[in-house]
Subunit: 188 residues, 2 copies
DNA sequence: GTCTATACTAGGATAGAC
DNA sequence: GTCTATCCTAGTATAGAC
């Protein structure tokens, strides 16, 4: 079995670790336990250690954002329907608010510098796609962009709050109101 | 000089460490460097180590939330004016978006369990105070509560995004629109 | 209350056998 | 590609002098 296959099994596990524990909170021993691989095997796959793991997780996430969030928004059909499709994927990815955001986990602390550019790319792709749908639905470019940024802010904020309170209702409400927040004409 | 004075000097330093690095990202050596105290002195002040430090930081934050955010909201005067006063304090506390939120830093990872209840108290006090002002300004209880929760979500989310992108404009925009978000009749 | 010194554990990383 | 064994550093925590 080649390297390529291994990575597709490893990266989702690493993603789960980093989003739940943050960069500093994940030890190589944790990774070893979660993957079933010994430390030496891990260094075989990731010679530069934990930082490389995090970098590859972010690359993996960037692909995931494009496939799961951006692609549905760019599909054919009614803007509202495409937005609902994305919303479903978001709800799924964050497990209804039980799982945190990797942007959060990997940008906390001084170790985050190497990751900032990759994070920015994923954020920009997602926000741009949401804004584009809003423009199609009739909003001005300026308003569409602001609402798209607000949508992402609301998602991130509700994930922090849901985690902090151990209660997913903040996330659920944000998800439910997301189409209205992005495309609606009035406050909720 | 008594114990009481020492804590008022130590806790703000600990707060800065935890909000920037998260719980797992802070080592006793970091604390030693930041405070100028040797490790043994730190264990003299906090016999239960890092967890006690974090707990006391959260107690300190709870007081700060009540004094800096809740108190202005409960003062006499125009609701909009009181809200602007709180907004100023929030902007100041987060240093215009350059400093992260302690709720975020202390709830990431498995070590966060002991802190959840304290975090929840601060959150509830702040949200309740914002909702109360919104009710005074004429909103229904239900809408006021939702808007207050949304305001906190927006603050938390914009802090995550500002940190992730290394750019404070998300936070600044949320702060600028906060009164409208809470009390306004339409979308921004 | 703070220091130096020390013990011990956990974490990161590598060498070399299979 | 994975393992065991090992190394070294960093991290937590304590003892005892001042």
């Amino acid at each position: 079995m080649g390297d390529f296959m291994e990575r597709t099994e490893l990266l989702p596990i690493l993603l789960e670790l980093f989003r739940q524990q943050g960069y500093a909170g994940v030890s190589i021993a944790d990774v070893s336990k979660a993957t079933g691989l010994g430390k030496s095997s891990l260094y075989h796959h990731f010679p530069e250690g934990k930082e490389q793991m995090a970098r590859e997780v972010l690359q993996h996430v960037e692909v995931g954002v494009r496939e799961s969030f951006v692609a549905p928004l760019k599909a054919v059909g009614d803007p509202h329907e495409r937005l609902r499709e994305m919303t479903k994927m978001v709800e799924d990815f964050y497990d209804g608010g039980r799982k945190g955001c990797i942007l959060d986990g990997l940008t906390l602390g001084a170790a985050s510098e190497p990751f900032r550019q990759m994070v920015a790319r994923s954020v920009e792709a997602w926000v741009a796609a949401m804004a584009s749908v809003a423009v199609e639905a009739g909003l001005s470019k300026k308003v569409a962009r602001e609402r798209a940024e607000d949508a992402l802010i609301a998602i991130e904020g509700s994930l922090v709050l849901s985690r902090a309170l151990g209660d997913q209702k903040a996330f659920k409400r944000v998800i439910k109101n997301l189409p209205q927040r992005l495309l609606g004409e009035t406050n909720l």
